[in-house]
Symmetry: C2
């Protein structure tokens, strides 16, 4: 995966039923697995732990942002199984100019787990003041 | 409201029960009211219509982004009544360095309607490659 400035934010506060109270939370386990797998197959990706993405009702949760691309937030992700799927989805995302992957090419977990999307920021078009 | 580069995205596709099938959708009505009120009291704010923020289960929906600040997504907003509250919330947001308004100072609709938040993007810290 080339260096494209894409950042994957992973909520490490997310809890899931059955988490060992003595062990790391589900979100922290997902973050660790994403760091491990990204090191093998997505070296250009920045993986950042975040204390809370405010999607507490649908753990585990990640967000992906990239210059000039839409930001996406996903939830309902399995801490043990989702890392491979997330990186697959990010490869497809990074292969688009705007971050919008055709619906059928998105991993199932991204289709059902989308929480929100936000247009590219800063806006690609100049602010009205800057255009004058 | 000063020019701070803050952008308010408003989903104009959001529908609400009771929408007149011949008239503008709830999201489009909310957008129009936000543009009207922003012109009176928040001239530095950029209000952008968006076709879909992918929060279709919790209309109406907006997102706010600003350079160096967290991005927030809000839902469950009333198309007729929420514009004033949203602008109040954005004034508080714009008054912070990072976009994180103390919990008690947030409008009730922002406390109950938060859908997600995303860290400041691009990241404030340099990428590892750039630091070398």
């Amino acid at each position: 995966m080339p260096e494209t400035g894409t950042t994957l934010y992973v909520c490490t506060t997310c809890k899931r039923e059955g988490d060992d109270p003595e062990g790391p939370r589900a979100g922290a386990r997902l973050h660790a697995e994403l760091v491990r797998q990204a090191g093998q197959r997505a070296e250009g990706l920045r993986v950042e732990p975040v204390e809370c993405l405010s999607v507490c009702k649908r753990p585990c949760t990640v967000a992906v942002a990239s210059p000039g691309r839409w930001t996406y937030v996903y939830g309902d992700l399995d801490p043990e199984a989702a890392a491979t799927t997330i990186l697959d989805g990010l490869m497809a995302y990074d292969g688009t100019p705007d971050g919008i992957v055709p619906w059928r090419e998105r991993p199932k977990e991204f289709r059902t787990g989308v929480i929100a999307r936000i247009p590219p920021f800063p806006p690609l078009s100049p602010l009205p003041e800057a255009a004058q």
